[in-house]
């Protein structure tokens, strides 16, 4: 077929994309047997275990940095024991989710975008549409659900790795004992930090998934479009994650959490 794209029946964009997604969720609720649960597990498998080492490594390095930077400042007022608090709250509430999001923006959003753009270029998405199979429900929803399952787990492992890495500066450089470090970690970790961190993580997962899938489905029908879609997905996912992180931090702080 010719590579015409100009007047093609537009895939849902913007709010229409969100509406399509809600409609797809409704359909799954009505007829769960017909949904591709196997694809959800496949997506979870591709997203979760394979990203774990890099997420753990990145979060550990951030925890280490946070420990040294926080320790240096706190030591000036004699509060170096509070390194554990800074690392624990920082990782659980903000940075584990953010780092997981940044890494998955590169790994997952780009993969989703490239795969779906390639399907668009090969008319595989058109084949779904012509048959009356909703591409959003069939292609986007399993990816999004798989990511929503994997993200909190990755973030949890990342937070543990970051807090564990914060032990090194606290104990080796700022004179805390291991028992003191652990005690401060336990004392500073509240349910509020946990649920705020988890909530943010889920938002990041939605942003990442939608940025990748949307870029893929909106790609043109050419090989170049695949590369452009992957780039667009990563850039928009990164920008959106940072924006969401910033807005939620301001929001929860203003609410007094």
């Amino acid at each position: 077929m010719s590579a015409d794209t100009g007047t093609a029946l537009p895939p849902p964009a913007g709010f229409a994309f969100g509406r399509e997604l809600l409609l797809a969720l409704t359909r799954v609720g009505r007829r769960p047997r017909l949904f591709g649960w196997r694809e959800v597990l496949e997506q979870f498998d591709q997203t979760g275990p394979r990203a774990l080492p890099i997420v753990v490594l990145a979060c550990a390095l951030v925890g280490l940095m946070l420990g040294y930077m926080g320790g240096a400042q706190l030591a000036r007022i004699g509060g170096q024991l509070y390194v554990a608090d800074v690392v624990t709250v920082g990782m659980v509430r903000e940075l584990a989710g953010l780092m997981t999001g940044v890494i998955l923006a590169g790994r997952v959003s780009s993969t989703y975008a490239a795969h779906l753009a390639s399907m668009t270029a090969n008319e595989e998405v058109d084949a779904l549409r012509v048959m009356g199979i909703d591409p959003v429900g069939h292609l986007v929803l399993p990816r999004l659900l798989g990511l929503l399952m994997a993200f909190p787990l990755l973030m949890g492992f990342g937070a543990v790795a970051g807090v564990a890495a914060g032990w090194a500066p606290a104990v080796l450089s700022y004179g805390a004992t291991t028992a003191e470090y652990l005690q401060h970690c336990r004392d500073s970790l509240t349910w509020t930090h946990l649920w705020i961190g988890s909530f943010k993580g889920l938002l990041y997962a939605v942003v990442l998934g939608l940025a990748g899938c949307r870029a893929g489905l909106l790609a043109g029908r050419s090989a170049e479009a695949v590369g452009r879609a992957a780039t667009r997905a990563v850039v928009s996912a990164l920008v959106l994650i940072v924006a969401v992180a910033c807005l939620t931090t301001i929001f929860f702080t203003l609410l007094g959490y």
Binding site: A8, L34, V130, G132, I133
Partner: protein, 255 residues
């Protein structure tokens, strides 16, 4: 053959665009039940773009496409869904879902659209693959198939839901002459036995003359339909430009 009053496909005053601009305007033709309509024209004349309009994939700038009496671009979502389930399409490149095996490609619409159980789906997939001569390829991924096999697998997928209207984009291209002839026989069999209406885009004039009841000739220079009629009649008595295209080795005779 008795024809129902409502054509299966009715195209009226259709304008066809692609990214470069207007390709065709004022396209009018119809396809009745059990008919094979061949859309013929030079490369770049808008055949495949026209087929995308007929499949509901590309919004026309003007005109209408009616399928089973319903306007494809002005129907509500429920009607559109029903229409689509009565249509099948085979894209030029096959457009098989590459991450699924051939069997899964065929079974997916059966599961999602027809709600068939696993044994019924498997039986239908086997039968459809046998119909296109791919009995032993069901477990293979599309990447493991040759170009011709991919086309036949795509045809099997399009046929699995037993569509009343089948759209084929260059079905014979890339096939060896024997396979192409078998495909033509299969098309005739579907039309005669199941009353399937087929619209096929093609360059293969031998195939057109063999299977088509009606030919729509697109003129690239005019950007319009230059002639509609039975292929043999157009070959013998059509406009000179059409006869020259259909039989390029013969000098054009006055009509």
């Amino acid at each position: 053959m008795t024809r129902p009053s409502t054509p299966v496909l009715l195209v009226q005053d259709l304008s066809v665009h692609n990214a470069q601009g207007l390709l065709l305007e004022g396209v009018d033709f119809q396809a009745d039940a059990g008919e094979v309509v061949a859309v013929v024209g030079a490369s770049g004349s808008g055949k495949s773009s026209l087929l995308r309009h007929l499949a509901g994939l590309q919004v026309p700038a003007q005109g209408s496409v009616q399928v089973f009496g319903h306007d494809l671009y002005r129907s509500d979502a429920a009607t559109l869904q029903q229409l689509r389930q009565r249509m099948g399409i085979m894209f030029q490149g096959g457009a098989l879902w590459t991450s699924l095996s051939v069997n899964e490609n065929i079974e997916l619409p059966l599961r999602l659209l027809a709600g068939m159980g696993a044994p019924e789906r498997a039986a239908r997939a086997r039968a459809t693959l046998a119909l296109v001569g791919l009995d032993d390829a069901g477990h293979k991924l599309p990447a493991e198939l040759s170009g011709g096999m991919r086309k036949r697998a795509a045809l099997a997928r399009a046929l699995a839901l037993e569509p009343a209207l089948l759209l084929l984009d260059e079905p014979g291209s890339g096939l060896d002459p024997v396979s192409a002839a078998k495909l033509d026989d299969l098309i005739l069999q579907l039309c005669r036995q199941q009353g399937t209406t087929i619209v096929k885009v093609t360059h293969d004039m031998a195939s057109v003359l063999h299977v088509a009841d009606r030919m729509v000739f697109l003129d690239r220079q005019l950007g319009r339909v230059a002639a509609v009629g039975h292929p043999r009649e157009l070959l013998d008595h059509g406009p000179p430009a059409v006869r020259a295209f259909l039989n390029p080795h013969q000098p054009s005779r006055p009509s």
